[in-house]
C-alpha cells in the first residue's frame, strides 16, 4: 500500500516535470512563397518538423503543436503577426528581413510573446531572438574548394564568376567571401561578377553563365535565389557536352539539382554553400523548451555548423575536401579572417576593387 502510494507520488511528480518540459507550440509566418519554396522557408519548416520528430511526409502534429501561416500580400504581415500573437503560442517564427518592420511594430505590443526572426539583427526587443548567419565564411570555403579544383585540373589562368540577385549587404557577404576564398588559393585568378537584379529570373543567369563559360570562366557561384538555377542548368548542359566547367550551389545542398547523367553519379554542382536555416529554428525551439530563450542576436557560423560546405560531389576528391576542412578549422579558430563587408575586404586588399558588391 505504502509502496503504491510512493509509486503514485513519484509518478505524479514525474508527470509534473514532464508537463514543465513539454514541447512548446510554434507558428511559422512566411511571405507569399510559403514553405514549399525549396529554399529559405522550406529550411525553417524542416527545423520545426525535426524538433517535433515529424518529417515532410508525416506531419502528425501539424495543426496542434506547429503550423504555418502564409501571407498573401505584404500588407498582411502585421495583422498576421498580431493574430498569432493573440492566439498565444510558445514561439512565433518569421523568416526573412521583409518581416523586420512588421515585427518591430508588433513585438513591443506583446512583451510576453517570444519571437524569432532570421537574417535580421536590428529588431532589438527583449522578446525577439534574431538569427544571423556568417554566409561569408561558407562562401570562402566554396571559393577555396573551387580554386583547389582548378589547380588540381591544371587550368591555365582560371577565371571565376559570381552571380548575385539584388545587390545589398546580404549578398555582398557571399561575393566577398567567395572572392577571398578563391584568391587565397590562386592570388592571380580573375574574378568576374554580375547582378541579375531579380531573384526569380533563371534565364538571365543562364545567358550570363553561357557567355562566361565560353570565355574561359571555370566555375560560377550564384547567390541569387531561384535565378541561380539558370547557372546550374547551363553548367549541366556544358558538362554533359564534355566541357570542364562547374557551378556552386547556395543555401541548400544543390548537388541533386546538378545531376546530368542517366546513372545519377555525376553532378555539375561542385559543392554548395550550405546555410542551415533549420538550425536557427531548432535552436530557438530548444531554447523556449529549456527556458533559456532570450532576445538578441544569435550568430550561426561554421563553428556551430550553421554554415557549411557540401562534400557530396565525388569529383571534389578526398584531398580537396581535407584541405577545405583544414581551412574551415582555421576559420573556426579565428586564424583565418573572412570579411563580411566589401569596404573592409577592399581595405585589406583581399579582393579586387572593381566588384559590383554594395555594402548597404
Amino acid at each position: 500500500m505504502k509502496k503504491a502510494l510512493v509509486a503514485a507520488l513519484v509518478l505524479s511528480l514525474f508527470s509534473v516535470v514532464a508537463a514543465v518540459a513539454a514541447d512548446p507550440t510554434v507558428r511559422l509566418l512566411t511571405d507569399v512563397s510559403g514553405v514549399d519554396d525549396k529554399s529559405f522557408n522550406a529550411a525553417a519548416w524542416r527545423g520545426i518538423l525535426q524538433f517535433y520528430g515529424d518529417t515532410l511526409d508525416k506531419q502528425s502534429k501539424k495543426g496542434s503543436a506547429y503550423d504555418v501561416v502564409t501571407a498573401q500580400t505584404q500588407d498582411m504581415y502585421i495583422p498576421n503577426i498580431k493574430q498569432v500573437s493573440d492566439e498565444k503560442y510558445g514561439l512565433i517564427i518569421t523568416t526573412g528581413f521583409t518581416f523586420a518592420d512588421a515585427l518591430g511594430e508588433v513585438a513591443p505590443k506583446y512583451p510576453a510573446q517570444k519571437y524569432l526572426i532570421v537574417d535580421v539583427d536590428w529588431v532589438n526587443f527583449p522578446n525577439v531572438m534574431q538569427a544571423t548567419f556568417t554566409e561569408h565564411e561558407g562562401s570562402y570555403l566554396v571559393g577555396v574548394a573551387a580554386a583547389l579544383k582548378a589547380k588540381a585540373d591544371g587550368i591555365k589562368d582560371p577565371k571565376f564568376g559570381f552571380i548575385g540577385g539584388i545587390p545589398g549587404a546580404v549578398i555582398t557577404k557571399f561575393e566577398v567571401g567567395y572572392a577571398m576564398g578563391v584568391l587565397s588559393v590562386l592570388p592571380k585568378a580573375k574574378i568576374v561578377d554580375y547582378y541579375a537584379n531579380d531573384w526569380a529570373k533563371p534565364e538571365l543567369a543562364k545567358t550570363q553563365a553561357k557567355n562566361w563559360y565560353d570565355s574561359g570562366v571555370y566555375c560560377i557561384f550564384s547567390a541569387a535565389g531561384f535565378t541561380g538555377s539558370g547557372t546550374i542548368a547551363q553548367a549541366k548542359e556544358y558538362r554533359a557536352a564534355g566541357k570542364n566547367v562547374w557551378a556552386i550551389g547556395v543555401d541548400s545542398d544543390q548537388y541533386e539539382d546538378g545531376i546530368y547523367d542517366a546513372a545519377k553519379t555525376k553532378s555539375a554542382v561542385l559543392t554548395s554553400m550550405i546555410k542551415r536555416v533549420e538550425s536557427a529554428t531548432l535552436y530557438a525551439l530548444k531554447a523556449v523548451k529549456d527556458g533559456t530563450f532570450k532576445g538578441g542576436v544569435v550568430v550561426f557560423d561554421t563553428k556551430s555548423d550553421g554554415i557549411a560546405f557540401s562534400d557530396k560531389n565525388a569529383a571534389l576528391g578526398k584531398d580537396i575536401v581535407a584541405k577545405v576542412n583544414a581551412v574551415k578549422k582555421d576559420i573556426v579558430s579565428g586564424k583565418t579572417k573572412v570579411y563580411a563587408k566589401y569596404a573592409d575586404a577592399k581595405a585589406a586588399k583581399a579582393v579586387p576593387s572593381d566588384l559590383q558588391a554594395k555594402d548597404d
Binding site: 507558428r27 500580400t73 498582411m76 493574430q83 492566439e87 539584388i166
Partner: protein, 375 residues
C-alpha cells in the same frame, strides 16, 4: 400556387442582386464540401469568418475589435479596384489595368509624401489627389488609344501593368535613403492613420482611407446614375453606334471612363501606401488588388452598392484566410471559394436561362394536365 412559384423563379432569374447572393451561397456550399472532402472541420472555416466580421473568437471565447478593423482595411482597396473595373465596364470597356493604375497611384503617393511640405491634412490630401490624377492619366491614355485608334484596351492595360510595376521599382529606388526593398519612413503628416478609428478597433490599421472609399462609392453612384456624363457613359456601354447617332461624344466617353476608372484604382494604391505602411515599398511584385477588383465588380454587377458589398465579401475572405490557416483549413480554400463565385457569376445568365426554361416546362405540363382534365 404554380403562378406564385413561377413569379418567384422569374424574379430570381431576372434580379441580378438575387443571383449574386445565390451564387455566393453556392460558392460557400462547394467550399464547405471541399473542406469536408479533405477531412477538415468546416465549422473552423465559419468560425474564422465569424471572427473576421464580429471580432469574436468562438474557440477561445475572446472578443477583439481589431479583426473587424483589419477586415475593413483589406476590403477598402478591393472595393475601390472593384469600382474601377465597374466604372469602365458600364461604359463597355474591360479594364484589366486596375493593377497598374493602383501601382501608379501608390508610387506617386509615396513620392508626394517625401517631396510635399509637411502640413497636417494638406500633406496626405495632396498626396492622394496627385496619386489619383496620375492614375487617371495612366488609365486615360488607354481610353484615348481605344477611342482614337481602336487599340484593344485589354491588351493595352495588361502591358501597362508591367510598365507601371517596373517604372515604379526604378523610380522609387531614386528616393534618397532607399535600399532594394524600402524607402525611409514617411513623415507622420503624410500618413492616413486615424487615431480615433484605431482606438475604436483596438489598434488595427483602419484609417481615413475608409471614409475616402465610402465617398468614392457615393461618387460612383452619383456620377453614374444622376449626371449627364454618367448617362453618356452608360449609353456608350449599351451601344456605341446608337450613342454616337444620338449625339453622344463616344470618344470623350471612352477616354473619360478609363480616366475615372484609373482614378478609383489609384485611390486604392494611395490608401494602401499611406494607410497600411509607414514607409514606401520598392514593389517586389504585383499586390493583386487590381486583379481581384475584376471579380469584385463582377459579383457586384458593376453597381455602386453591389461593388461595396462584394468588396466586403472578398475582404472578408482575404482576412479570414490567415485565421483559417491557424485552424487547419488549407489556405487555398478561400481562393477556391472566390474563384467559384466568379465562375458561377459568369454562368449566371446560363443559370437564369435554365431556371426560366424549367419554369416554362412546368407551366406547359400543368397546362397540359388541365387540358386532359377538361377532356
Amino acid at each position: 400556387m404554380d403562378i406564385k412559384r413561377r413569379a418567384l423563379v422569374d424574379r430570381l432569374a431576372s434580379s441580378n442582386a438575387a443571383m449574386s447572393v445565390l451564387v455566393v451561397l453556392l460558392g460557400f456550399l462547394v467550399g464547405t464540401i471541399l473542406v469536408l472532402a479533405v477531412g477538415r472541420d468546416p465549422a473552423n472555416m465559419y468560425r474564422a469568418i465569424i471572427q473576421v466580421v464580429s471580432g469574436f473568437d468562438l474557440a477561445r471565447g475572446t472578443w477583439n475589435a481589431r479583426y473587424i478593423g483589419e477586415w475593413l482595411v483589406a476590403s477598402v482597396p478591393l472595393i475601390l479596384c472593384g469600382l474601377s473595373m465597374a466604372f469602365a465596364a458600364r461604359a463597355g470597356l474591360f479594364n484589366i489595368g486596375a493593377e497598374g493604375q493602383y501601382i501608379v497611384g501608390l508610387t506617386v503617393a509615396q513620392f508626394a509624401s517625401f517631396y510635399l511640405p509637411s502640413v497636417p491634412v494638406f500633406h496626405w490630401a495632396a498626396a492622394v489627389v496627385l496619386g489619383m490624377l496620375a492614375a487617371a492619366g495612366w488609365g486615360g491614355v488607354v481610353g484615348f488609344l481605344k477611342a482614337k485608334y481602336a487599340v484593344s484596351e485589354v491588351v493595352a492595360t495588361i502591358m501597362m501593368n508591367y510598365i507601371a510595376l517596373y517604372v515604379s521599382r526604378y523610380a522609387t529606388q531614386l528616393i534618397p535613403g532607399t535600399n532594394t526593398y524600402k524607402t525611409p519612413s514617411f513623415p507622420a503628416t503624410a500618413r492616413l492613420s486615424n487615431s480615433w478609428l484605431e482606438s475604436v478597433t483596438n489598434g488595427s490599421r483602419l484609417n481615413t482611407g475608409l471614409f475616402l472609399a465610402l465617398a468614392a462609392v457615393l461618387l460612383f453612384w452619383f456620377v453614374m446614375e444622376k449626371t449627364r456624363t454618367g448617362f453618356a457613359l452608360r449609353a456608350t456601354g449599351f451601344n456605341k453606334d446608337a450613342a454616337r447617332c444620338s449625339g453622344i461624344n463616344v470618344q470623350r466617353s471612352l477616354t473619360l471612363s478609363m480616366a475615372i476608372s484609373g482614378a478609383f484604382a489609384g485611390l486604392a494604391g494611395c490608401i494602401v501606401a499611406l494607410g497600411s505602411f509607414g514607409y514606401g515599398r520598392v514593389l517586389a511584385g504585383l499586390d493583386g488588388y487590381g486583379f481581384n477588383g475584376i471579380a469584385v465588380a463582377l459579383v457586384g454587377n458593376s453597381t455602386a452598392i453591389g461593388t461595396l458589398l462584394a468588396g466586403l465579401l472578398f475582404g472578408m475572405l482575404q482576412s479570414a484566410q490567415p485565421l483559417m490557416q491557424s485552424r487547419q483549413i488549407p489556405k487555398e480554400v478561400t481562393y477556391i471559394i472566390s474563384g467559384l463565385v466568379v465562375v458561377f457569376i459568369s454562368l449566371r445568365s446560363g443559370i437564369g436561362l435554365l431556371l426560366e426554361a424549367r419554369s416554362k416546362e412546368q407551366a406547359k405540363s400543368a397546362a397540359r394536365k388541365g387540358e386532359l382534365r377538361d377532356e
